[in-house]
């Protein structure tokens, strides 16, 4: 059973058709990279897979569950790290993590929280309001959330932006770790070089349609 299965998916925002008949299959334990220009529909595809948008037509299946009727079941095993950081500015890192995980029914111990924050390199700022964080620190905090939630499926929208060199390595390490425990990752990026190290498959969205791609082709062009 593939982890993510997308069949003839189309989506339009009003009269503007963003996705056209996208078909895609990602098997468990692999990482898929989506490439494409701005406005090519990458984020829309991710949002549909995260059950945040209803597809205009076509169907999606995640771990064998229908994306429209079984939303709650899918959401339990899926985490979407979107472009927005999903963090409350007035709360500090610990409180943000506690709240975000409580909505998923998880209640980590202070020790676990501390460990994870240390791992993503912001342990020293644990009790600082997120308002004062930089973009890179917010990104690291999002990955701390993903580490604690340990979802089967991870959707990443531009995971490498705003991160420094050590941050990129941290994310790549974490992606390998997820793949090792048979998790599945779908990420969109403008930065193929950083994604190439960890991902097995790659696709290109253009004019709202998905074209198969290989890393070698990318080199040629």
């Amino acid at each position: 059973m593939p982890a993510i299965r997308v069949q003839d998916l189309s989506h339009s925002y009003g009269h503007y058709q963003v996705l056209r008949q996208v078909t895609l299959e990602i098997s468990q334990g692999t990482c898929y990279t989506l490439l494409g220009a701005n406005g090519s529909g990458k984020t829309t595809l991710l949002r549909i897979l995260a059950t945040l948008l209803r597809p205009t037509s076509g169907r999606i299946e995640i771990l064998g569950r229908d994306g429209v009727t079984d939303k709650t079941l899918i959401r339990r095993s899926l985490l979407f790290l979107a472009h927005g950081s999903h963090l409350y500015e007035e709360l500090n890192a610990l409180e943000n993590l506690q709240f975000a995980l409580a909505l998923r029914g998880l209640f980590p111990t202070p020790r676990q929280l501390k460990l994870v924050l240390d791992r993503v390199g912001i342990g020293a700022f644990a009790s600082m309001k997120v308002r004062h964080y930089s973009a890179g620190m917010k990104k690291r905090l999002s990955f701390a959330k993903a580490m604690l939630a340990a979802p089967d499926i991870l959707l990443l929208d531009e995971p490498f932006t705003a991160l420094d060199h050590s941050g990129v390595e941290l994310v790549q390490d974490y992606i390998r770790e997820v793949l090792n425990r048979n998790g599945t990752i779908l990420m969109s990026t403008h930065d193929p070089e950083k994604a190439r190290v960890v991902s097995q498959q790659v696709g290109l969205l253009r004019q709202g349609t998905l074209h198969p791609w290989t890393w070698r082709q990318k080199d040629a062009s």
Binding site: G84, H86, E95, Q98, G105
Partner: protein, 224 residues
């Protein structure tokens, strides 16, 4: 699970408010100005105050409530937090319940701070009726926040949301306003309870109907 989500949403809203003091301070300040403007524009004697005061109180409360309700969900827009609420496996009804509870608390706190000011500025005599007045405030504020939270979520993702919230909400809460004003008037006049009991019943019916309906419809607002 449901109870935990409600608790955490309330906790999050209260903590945010405690740190920023944005909502409560703006509500209080606005309400104070409303009281002053009213007393200037009506230059009232004791008798006129008796007639008008209930209406003034509830107009002030309703408009301050609008401010609190408007802020309730627009705070979730920062960093796309609303998207996380939508995508989380938590029951949307629980998020609604938590938000209603938080809004209810904010509005009630403001009302409890403001009411003594009304008593002082307009020379009201309320000592005997205080428990009944509290009951009226409680019921009417709950009605306002139950429908208001739904409409706060509805207007937050549209254009011109500051205008649309009162435009959509005020016609719908007319029964609450009428009942609250009439009941408050009765209580302030020291009328016996049976004379305005029907208004309390109306408030109770409104609250039950619209809590259930909003609880059900909130899913469709927040989730695709």
């Amino acid at each position: 699970m449901f109870r935990h989500v409600v608790q955490w949403v309330v906790w999050k809203d209260l903590l945010t408010e405690f740190r920023s003091r944005e909502t409560l301070s703006s509500m209080l300040f606005f309400a104070l100005i409303v009281i002053f403007i009213f007393s200037f524009s009506f230059s009232m004697n004791q008798q006129a105050a008796q007639e008008l005061i209930a209406g003034i109180i509830w107009v002030a409360f309703a408009f301050t409530g609008m401010i609190g309700l408007g802020k309730s969900f627009s705070a979730e827009l920062q960093n796309d937090c609303l998207e996380y609420l939508q995508g989380s496996p938590a029951a949307k009804g629980a998020i609604y319940a938590g938000k209603v509870a938080a809004n209810f608390m904010f509005m009630l706190i403001v009302e409890i701070i403001l009411f003594p000011l009304f008593v002082i500025f307009f020379n009201l005599d309320v000592i005997e009726q205080i428990s009944l007045l509290l009951l009226i405030f409680f019921l009417a504020t709950f009605g306002l926040s139950a429908v208001g939270t739904l409409f706060s979520a509805l207007t937050v993702q549209i254009r011109a949301r500051e205008v649309m919230l009162p435009i959509l909400l005020l016609p719908l809460v007319v029964p609450v306003m009428i009942a609250a004003v009439e009941a408050t008037k009765g209580a302030l006049n020291g009328d016996p309870l049976p004379m305005y009991q029907q208004w309390l019943e109306l408030l109770a019916i409104f609250n039950v109907v619209f809590t259930v309906v909003s609880f059900w419809l909130f899913d469709f607002i927040i989730d695709a």
